[in-house]
């Protein structure tokens, strides 16, 4: 049982026997795990049909059913229908990658010109109450845990702001206990002093909590669904509030209802069948756009990466060509959405994809806790928290700015007002 997931399971010799036993039971005995469709107390339930529609469309999607002719028809058409998009994500589209890239480039230029936005993520805590088997922060992984205090948060922000960055994405591990909503709200208020544009990537919240964070100064919320395949989701998210698949699914909608200007979406590519996950991610965005046409929506495209204590984790069948196909299909289907490409990808890939369809690129990245000064200035690290995953592209803001300019793109540090 759960055999193909064995690659993720790592036992720490620091765990007490009882904890280890529970971990093994969760990994091997499905009956020991909770129902992923059952909400936990306090989790707000939305009356929204978007979940059901995404599930139905994803279940009906047969990537192998599309032919060469379907792909050619999709590329010849002015507007990209849902069916066209399915064709572009299918194996039949693989030989058309260059043509797709040309079309995607055209759409990107029409909607965004030659601009590329730069931002940096800031992890303020890495405590987590979930056991997501592929994630470095998972509660059974023996890593250095840290939570920055307000003074440390301000110091990190100052270091980042001094590097020139104007947009910050605040992240935490998913622990309501260690990183509660007021703590995150305070971090946002501090960020307002140093940055023009603030987003969060934290555990999903209720509408009133999103409203509170919006009032603190945050306007963008990113929540990755990880996988839209509920069977796989159940096997990979074994413990914690994150196990509740539908509560996570509706997070963006709750964020928009709470007054946020925009929301980010993604599957973590490599966890399940990428064709279906990529389709579901973009179809989710498509339906949210129809319901909340004013919202600024974006898609990311993270692939699995090695983590602390497990260097074997990899994105399986999602290579750079497949990733490029996914991103071009996203751009052609949803020409108006932002596309973010993170430092999980190499400098070469990011330079190339920024010219085709990415609109947002991170720079000066650390996925650890409290180590920006050390990383930016080369000073010795002290008392830092371990990283969520290994990054591939460690370019500084300055280098990224220059590389984007050299690629004929115009780096933009801010194009946003908090209203």
């Amino acid at each position: 049982m759960n055999e193909e997931n064995q690659i993720y399971f790592i036992d720490s010799d620091q765990l007490p026997p009882a904890a280890l036993e529970r971990k093994h039971r969760l990994e091997n005995d499905p009956s020991s795990r909770t129902d992923i469709m059952a909400y936990l107390p306090g989790q707000q339930v939305l009356e929204s049909d978007i979940k059901d529609r995404v599930i139905a469309a994803m279940d009906a999607y047969q990537p192998e059913a599309y032919t060469d002719a379907d792909v050619r028809r999709a590329l010849a058409s002015d507007r990209c229908t849902v069916t066209d998009f399915q064709a572009l994500l299918s194996p039949a589209a693989a030989p058309y990658l260059e043509k797709m890239a040309r079309r995607a480039e055209l759409e990107t230029q029409r909607h965004f010109g030659n601009t590329v936005y730069l931002f940096t993520p800031l992890y303020i805590a890495n405590y987590c109450q979930n056991y997501c088997v592929y994630c470095g922060f998972n509660c059974y992984n023996n890593i250095a845990r840290r939570k920055l205090n307000p003074a440390e948060i301000e110091h990190e922000m100052k270091v980042i702001a001094d590097s020139g960055m104007e947009e910050v994405l605040i992240l935490t591990g998913e622990s309501r206990l260690q990183s509660d909503v007021p703590y995150i709200g305070d971090a946002i208020k501090t960020a307002r002093k140093y940055f023009r544009n603030i987003g969060v990537e934290i555990y999903p919240l209720n509408v009133d909590e999103y409203k509170f964070l919006h009032e603190c100064g945050c306007d963008y919320v990113t929540v990755f669904q990880e996988t839209y395949d509920r069977v796989k989701y159940e096997q990979l998210h074994l413990l914690g509030h994150k196990r509740v698949w539908p509560y996570r699914f509706d997070a963006q909608e709750r964020a928009l209802m709470g007054g946020m200007r925009g929301a980010g979406f993604s599957a973590l590519l490599g966890l399940s069948d990428w064709h279906r996950d990529a389709f579901a991610s973009a179809y989710h965005v498509y339906l949210i756009n129809r319901k909340y046409p004013h919202a600024e929506l974006s898609l990311s495209c993270p692939r699995l990466r090695p983590i602390v204590n497990n260097g074997r984790i990899n994105p399986r069948d999602v290579g750079e060509r497949e990733l490029c196909q996914i991103l071009c299909a996203y751009r052609i289907f949803l020409p108006f959405v932002g596309i973010t490409v993170s430092s999980r990808e190499s400098a070469t890939f990011r330079n190339g994809i920024a010219k085709i369809c990415a609109t947002k690129i991170s720079a000066g990245v650390s996925t650890g806790i409290g180590d920006h000064e050390a990383k930016y200035t080369g000073t010795e690290e002290k008392d830092t928290g371990d990283e969520q995953f290994e990054i591939q592209d460690g370019r500084s803001i300055k280098t990224m700015y220059r590389d984007m300019q050299n690629g004929g793109l115009q780096p933009v540090l801010n194009d946003y007002l908090y209203l």
């Binding site: 230029q109 029409r110 909607h111 965004f112 010109g113 030659n114 601009t115 020139g164 104007e166 023009r196 756009n289 046409p293 004013h294 919202a295 600024e296 929506l297 108006f336 115009q410 933009v412 540090l413 801010n414 194009d415 946003y416 007002l417 209203l419």
Partner: protein, 254 residues
Amino acid sequence: MQDVFKLGGHEFHSRFILGSGKYDLKLIKAAVEQGGAEIITLAVRRANTKQSESVLDYIPKGVTLLPNTSGARTADEAARIARLARAMGCGDFVKIEIMRDSKYLLPDNEETIKATEMLVKEGFIVLPYMYPDLYAARRLQEAGAAAVMPLAAPIGSNRGLETRAFIQILIDEIDLPIIVDAGIGKPSQACEAMEMGSAAIMANTAIATAGDVPAMAAAFKNAIEAGRTAYLAGLGRTLPRGASASDPLTGFLH
């Protein structure tokens, strides 16, 4: 006689306005030097930066800044952006852009009317970007707008005068300059809009995405001037068939 373009109590000689969608130094330089633009729009949100190459630094002296309220979703938000622009030293001009649609970026006429009413009272010279609807244009006129800026086609689409018939109605019925904004993809389309009697043309994407930006800016300048001259000259009759009868058909009448 010199043809002067009067807008909000100011006088201009160029009828080409550079939009703000796709900004860079090369484009602004081309628009001013080859396109003769005297008015350049500026997205306030884009100027809200510490960036070393701030958009504000790109704007040459002598050019009138037309700050826009892009990013606003309501009249109140547009008003706040307009006040911020004034505080930044951008002057009294403001182009109202209120979009509640992130896909097509179509303007919301209802909120735009509200914002126009508010900002005119605060002494702004208000130029509202709007969907070409006669009733909305009349209300904008009543609210004290300095011009009306109907869209020709969805912004960035380069599709040309898709709303031609409705823009013509505004030109015929509204006693304000009609500035055609958004969707103009070619100089010939700019020329046609000017022949119809538009007061000015705002363009951005068509020039920004051209193979040779300065040459395209010059082409727009020439096309806008040609269209304006044709409009002032009065377009000749286009006869459906045959030649014009030299003897009047109604010659028998006394």
